[in-house]
Amino acid sequence: MPAWTSASITKPLVFALCLSPLGALVWRGFHDGLGANPIEFITHATGDWTLRFLLITLAVTPARRLLGMPGLIRYRRMLGLFAFFYGCLHFITYLWLDKFFDLHEIAVDIGKRPFITAGFAAFVMLIPLAMTSTNNWVRRLGGKRWQRLHRLIYVSAAAGCLHYYWLVKSDVRAPLAYAAVLALLLAARMIARRPSRPAARGKESPATSAATPR
């Protein structure tokens, strides 16, 4: 990739793109576009985008391999943080617009309603990941430990899918679609892991394997 396409231009561009769902929501808010039940609309939109950004973040690693674009790694942190950002908006919507900071009612909800328990857990798991997303924290924890901690994103995404599945009344197509994409992304990781070690040793010469980007 030529130098000018890398960080200086594409990063702000991706950043702006990631903000566009929020922009669309604000625009709708000022143009009577949130329908008959605006708070429900905002809750669903921010929830949808949290789940989507989690899946997009998880798609970075398989996409690097499949497309042969290892440079995509530099967007992963930003995408993950946007998942957290939309998760925060979703949670604030619930806290403020839906429950109006009624902490007692929220506590009852989290304890008693499985779909809220799952959603809350999914959100809480993202907090340490967002906090330790800086280079400084990677260094402090060490690569291995940092990576192990950040595997929590799998659990969070799965809890997010469950949250959605338990929420709907009867038409489970959308939550199942998200769960299927998540399953596919996890499967891609398992497949990518398996052949690389034992098979690579036998078949590839040291020269070619060294040239193959991992």
Binding site: N37, E40, D109
Partner: protein, 306 residues
């Protein structure tokens, strides 16, 4: 050159095609004040009386009441029914009334319109999902129809069935609930003066997505009890099955009275969001119709019979 714009005709002033095509039928039956035979959606209904059962709360805007609703035969999204029910054929329409009655009969839409004087009833509507509206319905008490067919002593319940036509309702296959949609009431609930056989709203015939041409409105029960687009009414001895309780018996019971003390297993029913309001309001027992209906359930454990 001067190019003049043609005068703007508002969409609301354009005669719907089906009304235009059927215009001579109107001429053929001028004797009827209401609109006989065809029941196209959005036709003004004349000679509608006011009712003491009406609430004076602020009425939900027409656009919201007709573009945010559930009609799972036309998709599970709230805006889908308005779009997907547009071409539903509602004329001719027949309602078969059968079962334990002395005079079973098939009513067409004309018969329904002539059965009793039309009233406007402004009712609260509370959806099991936690939102509510205030809607000016038009119709008359269901008991007017029930009296016509003379139920026998074996008639303990009334079962209702909606139209189901997979060709006109292709989205229904994804809804996740069984069709045709069925509902039921106990005989005393069906005879209650609040229970409305409904043919219109907001001064007009029902739009397709709101259950045209004939639906039920039971204001003290969750919205799904108010079955839409009725094609069959059957008087039974045993409690009839109801769609949501068939789909998920732990979550939806036969009675489904609005009750802030009995939560849905997955969410609280203590509060509701009235569409158009920012703060939630407390949900009222029997949706605020307790004075009229509480005695129907005297001595019953409403936690058990939810």
């Amino acid at each position: 050159m001067l190019i003049r714009k043609p005068p703007q005709i508002r969409a609301s002033e354009i005669t719907p095609k089906h009304v235009y095509l059927n215009r001579r039928k109107f001429l053929a039956v001028p004797a009827l004040a209401a609109f006989p035979g065809l029941a196209p959606a959005g036709v003004r209904l004349a000679d509608v009386r006011k009712s003491p059962f009406s609430t004076d709360e602020k009425i939900t805007p027409y656009q919201h009441a007709t573009h945010y609703n559930n009609f799972y035969e036309f998709g599970t999204g709230k805006e889908q029914p308005a779009e997907l029910a547009k071409n539903l054929r509602i004329s001719p329409w027949a309602i078969s009334v059968e079962g334990h009655v002395a005079r079973p009969r098939v009513f067409d839409f004309d018969d329904i319109m002539k059965l009793a004087p039309l009233e406007e009833r402004i009712y609260r509507l509370r959806c099991v999902e936690g939102w509510s509206m205030v809607i000016p319905w038009i119709g008359y008490p269901l008991n007017a129809l029930i009296r016509q067919v003379e139920p026998t002593s074996k008639a303990k319940y009334v079962a209702f069935e909606s139209l189901y036509d997979s060709k006109q309702m292709p989205a229904a296959r994804w809804a996740g609930i069984p069709f045709p949609y069925v509902e039921g009431l106990r005989m005393d609930e069906a005879m209650h003066p609040l229970t409305l056989l409904c043919v219109g709203m907001y001064g007009e015939t029902l739009p397709n997505q709101s259950g045209a041409p004939v639906r039920l409105v039971v204001p003290w029960k969750y919205g799904f009890k108010s079955i839409k687009s009725i094609v069959k009414i059957k008087f039974t001895e045993k409690q009839p099955p109801t769609t949501w309780s068939r789909a998920n018996p732990q979550e939806y019971g036969f009675y489904s009275n609005v009750n802030p003390q009995v939560d849905h297993p997955r969410w609280s029913q203590a509060k509701e969001r009235r569409l158009g309001e920012f703060f939630k309001r407390n949900t009222l027992m029997f949706n605020g119709y307790g004075d009229q209906v509480a005695q129907l359930y005297a001595g019953m454990d409403l936690r058990k019979y939810y």
